[in-house]
């Protein structure tokens, strides 16, 4: 297995792992979704982004490496000859060099000490005169930045390969003993015992059968076949215009071409070397010296395949055309078609085989970097919203994202050193591993998983150098979303999910734009060559706007119950699934009431009751309280049913001592809820055969759901009383029991509210009125922290709550000054909901909680502190609270959401109307700025240098010859693209983006350097 193969394996493994994480998260989330349409949408969105980002990943160049080629040249024919060593790129490693001269001389063995980057060293050698020429030691070291900050180093000895091939042809150079036969970069050549064995690989086409080269096929992602048989039948081998896509690949090209040629020559083919325009002079001359073949044409400029084709081809021959850059080759294959010859194409240096220099600056734009950070940031927000990460941890992560990743991505110079990046990545992973391990130790697997995911994401982001790396990091955002949805499907996820989707879409757009400067893309049409900046932004923003508007306009009521609020907190931190499931069902009627939970109440009808019975319909009472949870009185006596279908309920001992009043019959029709409700204590129920009793005064329908008639005495409201009557008080501890966690300041507050008032009615009304004035009604009021008493939190911190909170607060306040009271839950019937039939519909959203207070002389009377507590904020409320309350009101009502949607659309329209002309103006302004102030634009200076180099190379360029003339001189697609960008920079109405200009300038400067290098003599010292 080659080093390349190992790297691929690791990458595949990484990708497989990511896929597993994504699938597992999706399954988990679906398991938890419980049919909520919004959560399905969230999950779908997340999955879609994962799929899209993954689909984009394999198309990107995947190998980044650094190549170190110390070049050795033996200069001069005299003895001693001089060996010139140069290390062009980086510090070369210490290694051994063996030079074997032909004939009788002993091999010369040298140990080369490390050379610093760019260092030149000369060694005088006592060599046989026949050993003159150019030796190249071909040893490469690769530093490969793999995803997730993994870095690996591979070592390939290309010289051994070259020598092995050369040995088969000529005896000039022998394979040094002890050197390991290397494997070709692309795995297409193996050096075996019987000499070089060359496979010609090409893309599969129909009719090729099963000669598929699987390893290359897997690597490339498209079928590739081995063409050995066809190759062996070749009678003529034409090596056309050997050149190399990047200078570093020259050795690989020479090795491959020499190998193929020697093989073909051995098989009886006539070998012809065509060094035409476009071929690399160094490679051509080295090949000429290496092999005994027919050289068709001397390299001249201005010639093309057509000029040499007649000399190169014999009609009817079977020709293998060996190409190294795909470009000159294309011309030759086209020419061959005219000469009626069968053509076998052999690609020498496929793209994947080209080792790439690690980019000094990231090969992606800042837009992609920002989008990637946005995606991960939104992912962390999702995890926080789902309650997996604490807010402190989340803040830490966001800070780290900003600092570490921002530094790495935005200031590439800081992280230019691969070792520093490796160190940082390892550090991050180690710290996170430790944290995850500790969390797992505590049994908190969710936190462990989240920590691990965040750590991996951060490490990946810090070590990101290439577009592909950035895209992998970008894809981790959606993974976090899916994971978060799996932990807790709360509506709080919606906003961060939308943010993630936006970031991912923008990131993919940025990546697509970056790829336009990829050297492999031939862009000859100028119309499409320039990335239409912002053209992606418009559809993406429109799609996002549409999504948000749809989310706002669709009615809330269609979604089943869920806890949590959009911007709200995490109600589910550190809870089991069972606890969570219990919470999402309404907590009103099952015997307990937890103030730290909350149910969303749909508009579905629950009952209908006779007209004229506006007011409170009681379902049960709760008198015991512990840690914010209220309990009803357990069953003490059961009901009796007689044969006539009349159920007599047991007398509630709590009612002892209350003045008796005549009971009335009420016909109740249950529609969506199955409780027995009555306007006061019920005595009998008719129309039902049996009931389920689960508290002393709470019943629900049992066997059948049918209308029933309940006889009950309606409760009096405290607001209708003027003073306390004469009568006994109820002093049992049951009615004055305080929550053990009740704070002293609550008791003090109760005393201060009451003051010197003694009359019970007045006291109750004082407390009621205090609550109505000082506490704001808010359906999605903040929940109390776990370690704080709910009433205390309401009275002194949040100042906001809904009916349960109001009722609980009043009960506790009254009890703390010794007034017997209890909570009652049920529904409010309102004549606003009356129907034409004369009945009132009670909906699930009419569920309510209030207080029953014992008033001597009147018995239990109801007191509803919620009624009349205005939604309006108290005068002393802060601006933020007012705004939040306003936002919540808007958000929680359908009409408010519609208003928001309309506002959003208007805002977007306005923004578009302003931004569009602004953008045009800005683009024109930049252009004008560049023109008037003579701002130096990167590609222009580089183009001037390139043009000068072309002139020096012998091309006649007059003052009237501009960019287009230079374009006619070049054939390389990347260079043509670069020239189009130069042209745009000069003459188009908008400048190409900055990173495109920089990339263009770099490419031009590389080609300028290559041109100039041809004319520089080899330095002798």
């Amino acid at each position: 297995m080659t080093a390349e193969g190992r790297g691929n394996g690791r990458r595949s493994l990484t990708r497989l792992g990511l896929w597993l994480v994504a699938i597992a998260s999706a399954i988990t989330s679906i398991g938890f979704l419980r049919g909520d349409v919004w959560m399905y949408l969230v999950a779908l969105l997340a999955l879609a982004t994962v799929v899209v980002s993954w689909a984009a990943v394999p198309r990107l160049p995947h190998l980044e490496s650094t190549l170190v080629i110390p070049t050795y040249e033996v200069v001069g024919q005299a003895t001693p000859a001089r060996l010139v060593l140069r290390s062009p790129a980086r510090r070369s490693p210490r290694h051994r060099l063996t030079l074997t001269a032909p004939g009788d001389a002993d091999p010369v063995e040298l140990v080369i000490e490390p050379l610093a980057a760019g260092e030149t060293r000369t060694i005088d050698l006592d060599l046989h005169p026949a050993a003159r020429g150019v030796f190249r030691e071909r040893r490469t070291s690769h530093w490969t930045a793999a995803p997730f900050g993994l870095v690996r180093r591979t070592h390939t000895d290309l010289s051994a390969m070259t020598r092995a091939i050369a040995a088969g042809i000529d005896d000039h150079v022998r394979v040094a003993p002890g050197s390991q036969p290397g494997d070709g970069e692309s795995g297409q050549m193996t050096v075996g015992r019987s000499g070089p064995d060359v496979h010609a690989l090409r893309s599969w086409s129909s009719g090729d059968g099963t000669r598929i080269h699987w390893r290359t096929t897997v690597r490339r992602g498209s079928p590739v076949v081995v063409d050995r048989e066809a190759h062996e039948r070749t009678s003529l081998l034409v090596i056309a215009g050997p050149s190399h896509p990047v200078p570093e690949a020259a050795d690989a090209v020479i090795a491959r071409v020499a190998g193929i040629a020697s093989r073909a020559a051995r098989d009886g083919a006539e070998v012809r070397l065509v060094s035409s325009r476009g071929s690399d002079q160094l490679i051509a001359s080295e090949l000429e010296a290496l092999l005994p073949w027919t050289v068709i044409a001397e390299p001249t400029s201005g010639t093309s395949a057509a000029d040499h084709a007649a000399a190169a081809f014999s009609p009817g021959a079977r020709v293998a055309i060996v190409t190294s850059d795909g470009l000159t080759g294309g011309a030759w294959v086209a020419e061959a078609a005219r000469f009626d010859v069968d053509v076998v194409e052999v690609e020498v240096a496929p793209r994947s085989s080209v080792p790439r220099r690690e980019p000094a600056v990231p090969t992606f734009s800042r837009a992609l970097a920002v989008a990637t950070m946005g995606s991960l940031g939104a992912g962390v927000l999702c995890l926080t919203a789902a309650g997996v990460l604490g807010s402190a941890a989340a803040a830490g992560w966001l800070l780290a994202l900003g600092a570490g990743a921002g530094l790495g991505l935005m200031r590439p110079a800081t992280f230019a050193d691969v070792r520093l990046r490796t160190l940082v990545s390892i550090g991050i992973i180690a710290v996170n591993g430790l944290l995850a391990f500790r969390s797992a130790d505590d049994g908190d697997l969710a936190l462990a998983g989240a920590t691990a995911v965040c750590g991996v994401a951060l490490a990946q982001l810090v070590s990101t150098r290439t577009r592909r790396d950035a895209l992998v990091a970008l894809g981790l955002g959606p993974v976090m979303v899916v994971a978060a949805a799996g932990f807790a499907p709360t509506p709080a996820l919606v906003l961060p999910t939308i943010l993630t989707a936006i970031a991912v879409l923008l990131g993919l757009g940025a990546a697509a734009r970056d790829s336009l400067v990829d050297n492999t893309l031939p862009a000859t049409s100028t119309m499409g060559a320039h990335p239409p900046s912002g053209s992606l932004l418009v559809p993406v923003s429109a799609a996002v706007l549409l999504g948000v508007v749809a989310y706002l306009v669709l009615p809330l009521g269609s979604a089943p119950t869920l806890s949590g609020s959009l911007l709200g907190e995490s109600p589910v931190s550190q809870q089991s699934a069972a606890e969570r499931a219990a919470q999402v069902t309404p907590t009103y009627f099952n015997g307990t009431l937890d103030l730290s939970a909350r149910g969303h109440l749909p508009e579905t009808p629950a009952f209908d009751v006779p007209a004229g019975t506006d007011g409170l319909w009681r379902a049960m009472t709760l008198s015991q309280v512990t840690d914010g949870t209220w309990f009803s009185t357990p069953v003490q006596a059961t009901y009796t049913a007689d044969s006539s279908g009349r159920i007599t309920l047991p007398t509630d001992p709590a009612e002892d001592g209350a003045p008796t009043a005549a009971a009335r019959d009420y016909l109740v029709r249950p529609i969506g809820a199955w409780n027995v409700i009555a306007p006061g204590p019920a005595t009998t129920v008719r129309g039902l055969s049996s009931l389920a009793q689960w508290a002393s005064d709470a019943y629900s329908l049992d066997a059948s759901v049918a209308p029933f008639t309940v006889a009950a005495t309606a409760r009096t409201d405290v607001d209708s009383l003027t003073h306390t009557g004469g009568g006994a008080d109820r002093g049992e501890s049951e009615w004055v029991q305080l929550d053990p966690s009740t704070t002293q300041r609550t008791v003090d507050l109760a005393r201060s509210i009451v003051g010197t008032t003694t009359d019970r009615v007045a006291v109750v009304r004082a407390v009621e009125s205090w609550l109505r004035t000082n506490v704001r009604y808010q359906l999605d009021a903040p929940l109390p922290p776990r370690d704080q008493n709910a009433v205390d939190y309401l009275l002194f911190e949040s100042h906001a709550g809904f009916c349960e909170h109001f009722a609980a607060a009043e009960t506790i306040l009254l009890r703390s000054i010794g007034i017997p009271s209890r909570m009652a839950t049920g529904y409010v019937a309102s004549s606003r909901n009356s129907e034409a039939s004369g009945r009132i519909t009670i909906r699930a959203s009419d569920a309510h909680a209030w207080v029953e207070v014992w008033v001597p002389g009147h018995g239990w009377v109801s007191s509803d502190p919620t009624a009349g507590s205005a939604l309006a904020a108290p005068a002393d409320q802060s601006l933020v609270q007012t705004l939040l309350a306003g936002w919540n009101r808007l958000w929680s009502s359908d009409s408010g959401r519609r208003t928001l949607a309309v506002g959003l659309v208007l805002l977007a329209t306005l923004a578009g109307a302003i931004a569009f002309p602004l953008r045009r103006r800005r683009a024109v302004a930049v252009r004008r700025d560049a023109e008037t102030r003579g701002v130096s634009l990167e590609p222009l200076a580089a183009f001037a240098r390139y043009r000068a180099a072309l002139s020096a190379d012998g091309h006649q360029l007059g003052p009237g010859d501009g960019v287009a003339e230079v374009r006619r001189l070049v054939t390389e697609p990347a260079l043509i693209t670069a020239l189009v960008i130069v042209e745009r920079t000069l003459y188009a109405s908008t400048l190409p983006p900055g990173h495109v200009r920089v990339a263009t300038a770099e490419l031009l400067d590389r080609r300028t350097a290559a041109l100039t290098a041809r004319h520089q003599p080899i330095p002798s010292r």
């Binding site: 200076a941 000069l986 003459y987």
Partner: protein, 331 residues
Amino acid sequence: MARGTAPLTEGPLVTADTLPQALSPAAVTAVAGRLVDNVSEVVRGQSGAVRYLAAAFLSGGHVLIEDTPGNGKTTLAHAFARSVAADFRRVQGAPDLLPSDVTGSSVWNQVSQSFTFVPGPVFSHVLLVDELNRTPPRTQAAFLEAMEEGTVTVDGVSHPLPSPFTVIATQNPLEQHGAYPLPEGQLDRFALRVTLEPLSEDDELRVIRDQVHHATVTDLPPVIDIATWHASCASVRRVYVAPAVSAYALALVRGTRRHPQIAHGASSRAAISFVRTAQAWAVVSGREYVVPEDLQSIARAALEHRVIGAGAGAGAAIDDILARTPVPLGS
């Protein structure tokens, strides 16, 4: 005078009131491509001339095709006119052609007891004037107003011409006998003067075979409608010309005024028309901005007929100017 006094076409006339939206540059390139492809169906081996004509069409300029007889001048002009589903008229130049034959005249209407204007062939979108130099100077002057102003004045009343309005004129430079050489003022009104390339043997053989076996110019289907043409013209006017490129165009035009081989250089109107045609050329070449090479490509066709040469011919002088004038390269 009210607009659109005389609706000539059966369909609704496109006037300035119904100016369509400009097309995108890519769409105009596609339009030009369709036009070129269609014309090339019947005009073989004249890719250069066809492209020039397409550019002139899209910039709203007029074209003078100059060549010896029998080389396809009229076919080329005819093919272009047919490729547009627009009102097309043809005038055969002759020494006895009167201005009123071109512009139309007022005739007495017995019913309304008034003069009614009967428009002449110039009221069309595409006007093909064959053998323009055979018409007498007075008639040539009538064309002059129509081409420059887009209006025709008869009996003191101006009648607007349909828009767009393009004149394709042909003339034979050889036979000057019985011809009235065009005055410089009128030559200046042609955006481009196109000469045909000599056909290769293959192309000529194809022409003969086509004529025998295939469709001729009269069977050519229209490929763009008038709204598209109009929108394309509007779009071409928006093609970006960088200030440096405008300056380069001016440098070329001013170069003609200084050049020793040119007795009289090109006018300012020539410079404007030069840049405008370059805009169209850029779009035909698939670009939404003008580059100096666009100007270089059309320089001879756009400038040569507008200068009066001295000595070795104006064409060589313009080539010399092109070689000497530095292309703006930003540094």
